[in-house]
Subunit: 537 residues, 2 copies
Amino acid sequence: MPDSPAMHISVKGHGLDKYPAKSHARRVTEKLEVAEGLLVLAATPSVLYPNSDQPQPFRQDRYFYYLSGCNESGCYVAYDIHQDKLVLWLPEIDKRKVVWSGRGSTVEEALEKYDIDDAKYISSSDGPIERGMGRRTTLEEDIQQTISLGISIYSLPDSLPDSLIGDWLYIARGGESQLQYALNCCRVIKDEHEISLIRRANEITAEAHKAVLCGIHGFTNEADVEAAYMGICIARHAREQAYSPIAGSGSNASELHYVKNEDDFGHSQMMVLDAGCEYSCYASDVTRTIPLNRRHPGTWPSEEAKNVYKLVERVQEACIVEMRPGKSFVEITRLSFDMVLDGLLELGVLKGEREEVKEAGTHYGFFPHGLGHHLGLEVHDVAPQAPPQSDGQSRYGRNGKREEERGREGYLRSHPHLPALPANFDFAITTFPANDGAPYADADYPDYSVLQSGMVVTIEPGVYFNAYLLDNFFLHSDKHTKFIDKEVLKRYMPVGGVRIEDDILVTKKGYENLTSAAKGDEMLKIIRESAVGSQEA
Amino acid sequence: MPDSPAMHISVKGHGLDKYPAKSHARRVTEKLEVAEGLLVLAATPSVLYPNSDQPQPFRQDRYFYYLSGCNESGCYVAYDIHQDKLVLWLPEIDKRKVVWSGRGSTVEEALEKYDIDDAKYISSSDGPIERGMGRRTTLEEDIQQTISLGISIYSLPDSLPDSLIGDWLYIARGGESQLQYALNCCRVIKDEHEISLIRRANEITAEAHKAVLCGIHGFTNEADVEAAYMGICIARHAREQAYSPIAGSGSNASELHYVKNEDDFGHSQMMVLDAGCEYSCYASDVTRTIPLNRRHPGTWPSEEAKNVYKLVERVQEACIVEMRPGKSFVEITRLSFDMVLDGLLELGVLKGEREEVKEAGTHYGFFPHGLGHHLGLEVHDVAPQAPPQSDGQSRYGRNGKREEERGREGYLRSHPHLPALPANFDFAITTFPANDGAPYADADYPDYSVLQSGMVVTIEPGVYFNAYLLDNFFLHSDKHTKFIDKEVLKRYMPVGGVRIEDDILVTKKGYENLTSAAKGDEMLKIIRESAVGSQEA
């Protein structure tokens, strides 16, 4: 039998240390400020596609992983707060299925692999979480006893099947919003083990990006780029991606979440490659913008392409050096917007009085997203958003579906680190953020964007020339069209878009850039040397 | 904007022919034997992972695709039987989201791309399926009117949201089992267009398998194999796989659905590579078993490895030539079991009287799966199973979950082309199929395995040495252990497993092998020549 992915962790200075699930459980309990009770979280079950006998790709529930370090399906993890005891419940092994698809961990293997106090099989009738109550119970019995004893169960929405908690549904789910809030408070600050996993994901991602740079002179289609990138990730045991790779050339570079990756380069000038793998469920998120220049590989295909790249590079560097504990991320975001505004005025794409253009927000038509977001178990990682609400307000969906669209206010509360254009923003009417003070400064909305040591946040400014966005909103609107120089814009449209993105760890004294993929001059050099090398060979 | 995947179809002799959705709708109607009514099927919606803002990988519902040829999310297709009119309902385009993730087809683009009579936006209040009722209605109104007029709606379980059919739920869903049966009857016989897509998927898969053969002398880990294979698939615009690639070396080769693909080869003798891409939602399914021989690439690492390969090769060839219209697939399956039995007796792994061993079924311990299955929109494609039942009996799950496990009888009825060991088969007690007549010969269960022209069926015999299966069942059982020569078995265990699989089209006169990936001597030659070539370079 092959060993588990968890055994492949090779972390500098940490060797084969276990994922610190117990420490996470303790931190969450501290944040909950309760002395007893049971935290119960469910792993993602194995599910088939509807009308199919094929399994959907398995992706572990991140809250479950945070408290268990276990990447297996169908498990439960239970933490007894009073006893400080973390127990993992495993599906019983069906011997008849092992020849088909192997098996999950045995109790013995789980105790060896995971940072837990005990492991039990779910359907085993003598598998208890021992609560000193003098008799052994199943998980179901234990939960029902716990409730009848008046001890709170904290579980996230849908973590527990109805069958498990029966009539106690309401009581059992009362703690969901507090638990989610406590988990988010903990998850936003990464410990050493988590940082080492994000670092490892970044190392593999950097190697995969390098394979693209080395091959780009011979590629003709976006699919070639994705193939080169994925080939390295898969070979390095990181086939799971933190998000679908984006390899957009020419105008596709201006579609922010472009994932088709199927077009020929044609006369495209630039390629946005936004791709980052996962490692042990931890994400990397890296964007590089690569010149496509068949005649002179590794040099800018036009003055305009160079200008836009240099602008975005300048913005990114200026924002990164601002990263430190105590700094408001909203302020850094404003800096990036201002620098893009100034840069576009300088290039002549925008024209008019700086303050008037800024007031109108015309520059958002070329930088229509936020500067960055938390990174961790999710590529857009959770953060302590608003204080816990009785309605369990969350940016995330339940039952796998996004919640009903909320208004601007809800958006602002739930996206503290993405203070740019919300999805439902009406480009033609409003600008955002308003000049008259950040919404985050309101008394009702404390600034959750203040950076703390241990946070990992992306810095990813971009400048795009998206024909659809410009034609349908900004060039279509009296408010904006007067600030755009159509002749200059025409020269810049073929650039498509430029985005540069690194993953920044906030340290006690400042920051550390966890992303090692080549960019700027180093990137150009790799492309040039690879192209020369391949001609000589 | 990039064009749609559908435009990349390059089919010999078919050019840019549209996917024949209308013809499929007509065939299904004929099978239903009704003169009026409405077929309504829903596309898969876009869904986020629970507790995450990341989308689950999109995979189109196959029944919807069969009647639309449309690979976009959130659509409906409706076929008016009396009017012979096929209408596609598209989600309305949200202009504000286009800069983020592009958009689905417009009505105009859909009419251009798909074989439909009309296209409408779902939320448009004037978007009707015109039923000659003198007024225009929405899809919802139309369905409710249709029901109140006493016209049947045929829709699969869960195809229609409850909100759409309200109180008419029961009536509207009455036709589900007939519709599914009719769809399965049609889907099991592939038309020219479908065959050309399966052929194209096989071409790409063959090229990807070849990349593995060319690189295998330099690979050291199963992940290298998956990377080489996937690199070609992605570069050829076929990143979607018909199933998770299986790259199992050594003992991993004996786990039938092994997908971890992460182990070093070590001293493994053989590698089972079972991997096939999709093309325009149509599957390929190809298995090759590759010798791992660092010293002498492209030659068998042991006499035992060669013997097992030759046995499986012989079985596969003998079964393929039996493929023709009118032939029972159950008979061909029996042939494969008999040949494996004889081969293992010849090699000395099995011992004793042939008929006694056969009666015990000990050879199933080395060939614990069926000979093949239908292939099409699913890798394990649907087939007309039992006649339609009022309870809508189906091998597939609802709501993305597999139905409760059924007994042996249910299994036999729903897996006519997989007449080997069912998942819940108790290895130690029973053998299957029983010698005293195939269950398919019963009057209650007509032989659905009779081959017809236009079927595409895999032929995939295998011989495995799975320690878990043998130790826990066959060597553990008095009934079987006496027929196994433990000394000979010890020599064969390191072979792991061998499976060879091709996709066979049943033609009017016999068969055509759609799989072009190299196997046998041709495979060995490619490995040898690549290894030599790389040493010389």
